[in-house]
Symmetry: C3
Subunit: 236 residues, 3 copies
């Protein structure tokens, strides 16, 4: 999962790396000037940083689960326009804690979970597709998308945007799901070439909607060229 | 032009693909929750989706012409920051109609026209150039750029931005053209590395201005490396 | 440094090219309609254009120094979301002057300096790092970042953002430096996957802070894959 080096010689901030060009770092005590510009809560002297060139759902769900099992808070979630030469997002997530080892463990756990979640990130030359599902949304997912905490949650996204829209529509036509957020290139994204929706509802309904969206999205990406490969092993 | 498959087995929404990583899709009846979030006019139960990883002018002009010949409305035009690893835009266009076959035909026609218009989209490793010309602007061009309907219209754009500015200036110094819109990386674009102008005027004047801009733009892109290749056969 | 052609046949606007896909151009007399849309100061009939696909600090520092030695004004600095398939910025800088040869010389000088400054721009497959240092900030640096004129100035930036944050923190913990600007994917950047800070203070302190940030940034980029190569010869 994480880099072989548990700690890079001379760089105590280093925690590890994960799929989709992800790095995890810890700053034990953020500089005062920087802290005031970041508007960081003073309760958390230590911050953990998780960021990737590619993906959003995989990493937010990873941090969401890590936060449930750790003594940390999710402080901010930002989505740059990235995915290298792709048409989507990367991510930059900051967590905070009172204890360095708590934060370091939460970052390590997040990296491990990103490697799992990246199984539902599919990339081809022409575009990409990402779906995520969790039976119980936590604080990170709530912060990022406004999804209700403790309810089942699904993330559905594809580039180019028309594919994203068709699979969003298919997912919404599944029984028993509710629309949480809706993003397009100029609304709720960082000008990415995607339609992104998030949904909530009963666990089985959300899971079925996400799987249905994934199957059609992969078929549509195939019409534009090669089969989109999952970054890791699919989990759904 | 479009994909060999007239309709993808199991994906009735599929219409076809075209140059510049373009896909065309149709949703016969948009889901109610999605529709309300999209602020879609209830008059049009069926929507057509056209979107590309690369280009803006080619696709907007294609939909503009398709709309003249079809019983559909142009509902929205969005320009993500894309062109794959290039410095420009992709596009995401939604059209609406009362009849599924009307919308499907308009999407098919748009895809055919995108293949033609992509002839004036030139791409090199260092940058790109796109010009478009129509003797008569319609609804899509008016919506996207504010150009006067039924007047001749020209689109001129290049990356990196300095080349776009020089060819914009050359085009404007042609006799008889008027500036419609002006875009730079932080004004009127999605942070693309381009200067983009649109012009109107008498057909001959606009056509000459566009051709002059194209010739100089290609010469300047050549100073940065290889000759920029047209995506399809140039039409001007 | 600049392109072999001192002037491209038929394109009198061409000045030259430089590292990081940079081009320099001059427009002797900007078209009136374009000028009014650009909100250009009428005092400067001639404009010089410098723009690159990759980098921001290198080019802003180059124009900053060129402006100190020339009879020109810096009119605007824009940062598109670019770096080709990278996660950072390109740039588009406009300078103005009363005399064409003044402006042409300033563009030529800027191109030469960009080739030098690009030595502190490091790029790998996974990300990038850029640092810049000047003992005396001038008008371009003040315009771009709000840094105090005539004071030592440092620019520190890395992608992905977590690396940028760790080296920003390290730089700020150096003795004697003050934070000037702070940028993240959704604050003060064009949705780039970076943390970007600028600092000021005593020359030695700023230089040490910048070098410290660079060393750690390179080490962290190495954990994500290959060693990041400088675009030109490092100067610090």
């Amino acid at each position: 999962m994480t880099n072989i080096l548990n700690q890079l010689p001379g760089v105590p901030e280093f925690v590890g790396t994960a799929a989709a060009d992800t790095i995890g770092l810890v700053i034990a005590n953020v500089d005062e000037q920087l802290r005031s510009r970041m508007n960081l809560d003073l309760t958390y002297p230590t911050i953990g940083l998780i960021g990737s060139r590619t993906g959003a759902g995989a990493q937010i769900k990873a941090v969401d689960d890590a936060a449930k099992m750790s003594n940390i808070e999710v402080l901010s979630i930002e989505l740059p326009r990235d995915t290298k030469s792709g048409g989507g997002h990367g991510n930059f997530i900051i967590i905070g804690g009172k204890d360095v080892s708590d934060v370091r463990q939460a970052v390590e756990l997040s990296l491990k979970l990103i490697d799992q979640n990246a199984g539902e990130l599919y990339i081809s030359e022409a575009g990409h597709l990402e779906v995520q599902f969790t039976a119980r949304a936590g604080k990170a997912i709530h912060m990022a998308f406004g999804a209700p905490i403790d309810k089942a949650f699904g993330f559905i996204c594809s580039c180019p945007a028309p594919i994203g829209m068709v699979i969003a529509d298919l997912a919404m036509k599944s029984a028993g799901v509710e629309l949480v957020s809706y993003g397009t290139p100029t609304q709720g994204t960082s000008f990415s070439n995607e339609v992104v929706i998030t949904i909530c509802g009963e666990a089985d309904a959300v899971r079925q909607a996400v799987i249905k969206a994934r199957e059609t999205g992969i078929q549509l990406l195939c019409t534009m060229g090669e089969y989109p490969d999952p970054v890791k092993t699919p989990y759904l």
